[in-house]
Every structure is written in structure tokens, then in C-alpha cells.
């Protein structure tokens, strides 16, 4: 954290503070963590913990523990303040999606967007435009909620830390509409379970995306949060502390202009650069500690200083390597259209595997050092839960 302001802020926030009122009880803090409080109670806890070092520490320690999966059969609890708040945004999204699907493809987005989506699809190369916007995230419509949203939240958040973020707006990324009848790999990336932090496939579009309809960030945040909460409630495994990421295959280097934005001084970036964007067919990521990976001209490299310098990772050959998903400083998955997958494990070893398919590998999603899903261009998905030792075809 080089910026002196960040250092000052960190020291200030680490320093002791106490709120004037008495601290809430451990049970109240437990109820907060469980989401069992009313809105006003939650706000009261947050108001207090914002100024109370002890309670902030209490919440932090509770949050750092693995999520609970109670073995006791429990009467379903209704967090009553959440009961109905999800209905309206979900219903609205479904209506939007239904309208979207019914429209012809060209009517759904301007030509620039069509090119962007096309260029994101390796099996459907699009005509290139010199001033083309970068490949949009190959995302499902926003009605899928987490897909479009998490496209803006790249995989390095899965690392348990923050990586530098480009100072690019996230609303346009979320607003980028991808029709349901887009390239097959888009459909293939719509996982049955709520996707975790998806790797960016490309930086968000530039400011001339006036055809996109910006939405109120706060309202969209709330709607997206609520949709996501419901999705997450249906899959407790997806709420484990390990987040995952999906990479999209890199588009040919000549297809896209270099869209690397200016380096931001903000410490909260979740992705540095999308797969496929930029010169040289690069894709790179790093975590809050500055440790990261990239594929540069087919060579797998590592960094320990947030991409300032890169060193050859001495990886086994992976011809055509174009996908990477970083799980932690040392754990990273790599994929190539040939179907070959490399995993750098935490013990420093490389594990090579191949998905049992003859069609091209188009995307790789990983949620841990052992679990990953690979999608092929013919919309089949293969899952491994043993770091690639076996790949199992998932039902459609």
C-alpha cells in the first residue's frame, strides 16, 4: 500500500475507537451475522460497529470463520425484512429478459455492441473495427443477476484480497446486454449455480456507449444484491469463502484495441486486465499481495509486484494457452482451446489434464484449488473436483 493516504487511513482504522453507547450483546452480533435482525436493528449495529473497534473486531472474527452449515434440522426462518423485497426486482428482470429475448438480435443492441459480443466469442469471430470497443463480458442478461454483475467483479476477489482496479465504471459493464441467442459459449457460461466472481473478459466499454442505458447505481446495487442473496441461499456451497472465477478465451490480439486503462491508485481493483484485451494476447491477474499470473504470447509468467515485473513461471508447455483463473497467490488454472488444462498447485507442482472432448475449450471456471468447470464450444460442460484428475460431463 504505497499511497500515504492509504497508509494513514489504514492506521486510523486500525486504531482504537469507542462508540458512546454500550456494545451490543454477543447474541445480537450473532444475529447480525446470521441476518436475523430487522433493518433498523442492523443499522443500529452498523452505526455502533462503525465507531467501535471492539465490535468491529468481533464482527470481523465472526466473518472470518467458515460459513455455518448446521447439522440440526431447523425450522426455516424468515428474515422478515427480506421476505418480499426480492420479488419486485426479480419480476422486473424477468420482464426485461422476456422482452429482450423476443427482440431481433440487431434491435437489442447497437452495432458496436454486436461486434463486441461477437468478438468475445472465439467460435464466431466478428469483423473488426479500428475503433471497436473492447470485448464485452460474455455475460448472460442482467436478469441472471450475478453473471452480469460479477463480470464487473473479477476473479482476484476470490483471492481473499484486493487487486488494483482500473478506474473504469462498472455500470456500463453491467448494462452491457447480451442477447440470449448470443454465441454458444455465452450460453455455456451460464452456470446452473450462481457463478462466483467471474473473471473479466474485457474492460468495460468506453464512455461512448451512449446506447446503453445507465441505471441508478444504488438501485441496481440493491436489486442485484437481493437477487444474488436468493441465488446464494439456494447454494450454500457457492457461499464458501473461496470464490471462483471464469475466464473467457482471449480474442485474437489484432481483433481488439489495447483497452488497458490508466493504472488507478485505488486499491480495490478486482481485475487488472481482461483475457483477450490488450496487445499480445495477454491476460493477467494479481491479488492484494501483488502476486499474480499472466499469459504473455503463450508463455505463463508470474509477478510479485502487481505486474510491474514478470518472470517466466517455467510452466510445462501449454500451446495456445489463453485462459487463466487465479484462486490464490500460488494456485492458478490455465486453459487452452485444445482442451488442455494446467493447474499450478499450492505446493508448487504443475498438474496437467485434458477435458474429454474433441471440441474446443472456450471457458474455464474455477472455485478452488480442486474444483473447476470447463465449457466447450458445443455447450458441453465438464467438471472436476480433484484438480483435474477426472473430468465429468455435467448434465445440460
Amino acid at each position: 500500500m504505497a499511497d500515504p493516504f492509504d497508509r494513514l487511513l489504514e492506521r486510523t482504522m486500525k486504531a482504537g475507537a469507542s462508540a458512546p453507547e454500550a456494545c451490543p450483546s454477543p447474541e445480537d452480533l450473532a444475529a447480525y451475522v446470521d441476518g436475523a435482525l430487522s433493518l433498523s436493528e442492523r443499522h443500529a449495529i452498523e452505526r455502533h460497529a462503525a465507531d467501535c473497534h471492539t465490535c468491529a473486531e468481533h464482527l470481523a472474527l465472526l466473518s472470518s470463520l467458515e460459513p455455518v452449515s448446521s447439522g440440526v434440522a431447523d425450522t426455516p426462518k424468515t428474515t422478515w425484512w427480506r421476505t418480499w423485497t426480492w420479488v419486485v426486482p426479480v419480476a422486473a428482470s424477468l420482464v426485461v429478459a422476456a422482452v429482450w429475448v423476443s427482440l431481433p438480435r440487431e434491435a437489442q443492441m447497437p452495432s458496436a455492441e454486436v461486434d463486441r459480443v461477437s468478438s468475445a466469442a472465439p467460435s464466431a469471430p466478428a469483423p473488426q473495427r479500428p475503433a471497436a470497443t473492447p470485448a464485452a463480458p460474455a455475460a448472460a442478461p442482467a436478469s441472471a443477476g450475478s453473471v452480469a454483475e460479477t463480470k464487473a467483479a473479477p476473479a482476484s476477489s476470490a483471492l481473499g484480497g484486493i487487486a488494483p482496479k482500473e478506474r473504469t465504471p462498472t455500470v456500463p459493464a453491467r448494462s452491457a446486454r447480451v442477447p440470449l441467442q448470443a454465441a454458444p459459449e455465452v450460453v455455456g457460461q451460464r452456470l446452473d449455480r450462481p457463478p462466483q466472481m467471474l473473471a473479466q473478459t474485457a474492460p468495460p466499454p468506453p464512455a461512448d456507449s451512449s446506447a446503453l442505458k445507465p441505471q441508478s447505481a444504488d438501485l441496481k446495487d440493491k436489486a442485484d444484491d437481493e437477487q444474488r442473496q436468493r441465488a446464494e441461499a439456494a447454494n450454500t456451497a457457492a457461499r464458501e469463502g473461496v470464490a471462483g472465477a471464469t475466464s473467457a478465451p482471449a480474442a485474437p490480439a489484432s481483433a481488439l484495441p489495447a483497452m488497458r486503462g490508466p493504472k488507478t491508485e485505488a486499491p480495490f481493483a478486482l481485475r487488472k486486465q481482461a483475457a483477450g484485451a490488450g496487445v499480445g494476447n495477454k491476460a493477467e491477474m494479481w491479488d492484494a499481495s501483488g502476486n499474480g499470473w499472466r499469459i504473455a504470447s503463450g508463455v505463463i509468467e508470474r509477478t510479485s509486484d502487481r505486474g510491474v515485473t514478470w518472470q517466466d513461471a517455467h510452466a510445462p508447455a501449454l500451446p495456445g494457452a489463453s485462459m487463466l483463473v487465479q484462486i490464490s497467490a500460488d494456485v492458478c488454472w490455465f486453459g487452452a482451446p485444445s482442451g488442455e488444462v494446467l493447474l499450478h498447485a499450492s505446493d508448487g507442482t504443475w498438474k496437467r489434464s485434458r477435458i474429454p472432448a474433441t471440441t474446443a475449450l472456450t471457458s474455464l471456471t474455477a472455485t478452488s484449488a480442486t474444483d473447476a468447470i470447463a465449457a466447450t464450444e458445443d455447450e458441453r460442460r465438464f467438471e472436476t473436483k480433484d484438480a483435474g484428475v477426472t473430468w465429468v460431463l455435467l448434465p445440460k
Binding site: 444475529a31 462503525a50 468491529a56 470481523a60 465472526l62 472470518s64 448446521s70 462498472t170
Partner: protein
């Protein structure tokens, strides 16, 4: 004043009966009277003042009644209930203690376990810590919260006995450091910290909490999001915005109120970020 027991029973008879059945309290031989007392205790804790029957009913529906019944049975010393507790809750209790307190986790968990079992006596009566479980949160989360409280209390008690690290007192007058405090630098430190404190005070509570959890407690985006019920991307975006706004506020305050130039503002922030005297005063505040 909160509802008394007879009035509670009269007004919520049907809800109590339904929850009793749903809780499988009979599995642990918990009587309706004991279960009702537990529900009443929970309501009294939540609503110390009078409130509407509808609010009470709504609250009762949110309780983890199975675990409340189990807690009642354990407090009463029911053996099958304790066997169930040991099988289902003890492992995660010890795992959480290890995670929180590493080497001291075992000791921490043992102490808590003894209190749960009721090895402490007050006025000749065996008292179990489970008497303080009201079913509002899951039992596991409640147990973890108690563990965390114990851990923080232990650590603070130990910290009061620690001597100051010599590094912390470098740079202070009389500390034997090579140079005494620079008045100009001290002024910069004071300006910067004052500006930051003012800017932080103007933040909304949730923004402050996110910053405190991220910077102060070093939580990840995912962990913060789990607490605040937000997605990682949302947490990241809001943290970024808050940090940017804070920095702008601080720089504006320094320029406008103290007449500092751009270069002086940078120097001011750099001085404050590395000032040992600031570090000590804030650390002392943390030990209060």
C-alpha cells in the same frame, strides 16, 4: 414494561403450541412449560418495553426453535440432548476456537464448554451459559460469538500487561531516539489526522463500517460482503468510492483550511502516514 408470562401465554397460545410442535421439543423431553418460558425470555430480551402482539408473533416466527429446545434440554441436563450437542456442535466449536485463537483455541473452547455444561454454580444452583441463548441466531453462530467475545477479552487483558514495544516509542521526546520531534512535521501530522477524522465523521455508518472492516480488520471483500449482505463487487465499488471521497475531502480541507499547496498536501499526508507519535496515541486508545 414487557409482557408478563401469563399475558404472553394468553395472547400467543396458538403460536406457542405450533412452535412447540415444530421444535421437536418432545425429542428432548422438554415440557411445554419450559419451552414457553424460553420463548417468553426471548421475547422479553428482544422487547424490553411493551410492543404489539403482531410484532411479538412476527419475532417468534423467526426464532430457531429447534435449537432453542435443544438448549433448554441441555440446560436441564438431558443426556440425549448433550450427546446430540457434542456430536453436532462441539466439533465446530473447537474448530472455530482454533481458527480464532490458534494455540490457545483449545483452552478457550474448553472454558466455554464448561460454562455451557453448567460447571459453574451460583447460589448453589448450576448455571449454564445456554440460559443466555434466545434462539434469535443459529446456535452455532451464537457459540462462535461467545467464543470471539472471550477471545477479545482475554487478549485485551493480556495486552494491558504488555510493555510498550521499543519501536513504538522511537521518535518521542525522551525516548532516546536520535532526533526529537520536528514541530513542522508535528503540525502536518495534526492537520492531516484532524482532516481525516472530520472526513470520516461525515461518512454514513455503513461506509465507515466497510472501511473499518477492510482497513482496520483486514477483511476481504467477500468477508465484508457476507457481513453487510452485499456482493463483493458492490463492496469493492463502495469502498473505492468512499476512499476516493475521503481523500478528496482531506485534500480539500488541507488546502482550504490550512492553505497548503499541492506539494505541501502530499508532504503532509506522507508525514502523517509515517508519524510514530500518531501511531502511539492511537494504539493507546485501542487498549482502553
Amino acid at each position: 414494561m414487557s409482557l408478563d408470562r401469563p399475558a404472553f401465554r394468553a395472547r400467543h397460545r396458538h403460536t406457542i403450541a405450533r412452535l412447540y410442535e415444530a421444535s421437536e421439543a418432545t425429542r428432548w423431553r422438554v415440557t411445554t412449560d419450559v419451552f414457553e418460558a424460553a420463548l417468553h425470555g426471548s421475547v422479553a430480551h428482544r422487547f424490553p418495553d411493551a410492543t404489539s402482539a403482531a410484532d411479538v408473533n412476527r419475532y417468534l416466527e423467526t426464532l430457531h426453535v429447534n435449537e432453542l429446545a435443544l438448549a433448554c434440554a441441555c440446560r436441564a441436563g438431558d443426556e440425549p440432548a448433550w450427546e446430540h450437542f457434542i456430536r453436532e456442535y462441539r466439533p465446530s466449536l473447537y474448530a472455530a476456537a482454533r481458527s480464532i485463537a490458534s494455540d490457545e483455541g483449545r483452552d478457550l473452547a474448553d472454558g466455554l464448554y464448561a460454562e455451557l455444561f453448567g460447571l459453574t454454580e451460583r447460589d448453589g444452583e448450576r448455571r449454564s451459559l445456554l440460559a443466555y441463548y434466545h434462539g434469535r441466531s443459529r446456535l452455532t453462530t451464537w457459540l462462535r460469538s461467545i467464543l470471539v467475545q472471550r477471545h477479545i477479552d482475554r487478549r485485551r487483558s493480556a495486552a494491558r500487561l504488555e510493555t510498550l514495544d521499543e519501536e513504538r516509542i522511537d521518535g518521542l521526546p525522551g525516548s532516546g531516539a536520535a532526533t526529537g520531534p520536528d514541530p513542522a512535521r508535528s503540525a502536518y501530522v495534526s492537520m492531516a489526522q484532524g482532516a481525516l477524522d472530520e472526513a470520516i465523521a461525515a461518512l454514513e455508518s455503513r461506509e465507515k463500517l466497510r472501511l473499518r472492516l477492510y482497513y482496520g480488520q483486514q477483511l476481504t471483500l467477500a468477508q465484508i460482503g457476507r457481513l453487510t449482505g452485499e456482493h463483493e463487487a458492490t463492496v469493492s465499488r463502495k469502498l473505492d468510492r468512499a476512499r476516493r471521497d475521503l481523500k478528496n475531502s482531506v485534500e480539500t480541507l488541507l488546502r482550504r483550511e490550512h492553505g497548503l499547496s499541492e506539494a505541501a498536501v502530499r508532504e503532509c499526508l506522507e508525514a502523517a502516514a509515517s508519524a510514530p507519535e500518531l501511531h502511539l496515541s492511537r494504539l493507546l486508545a485501542g487498549h482502553e
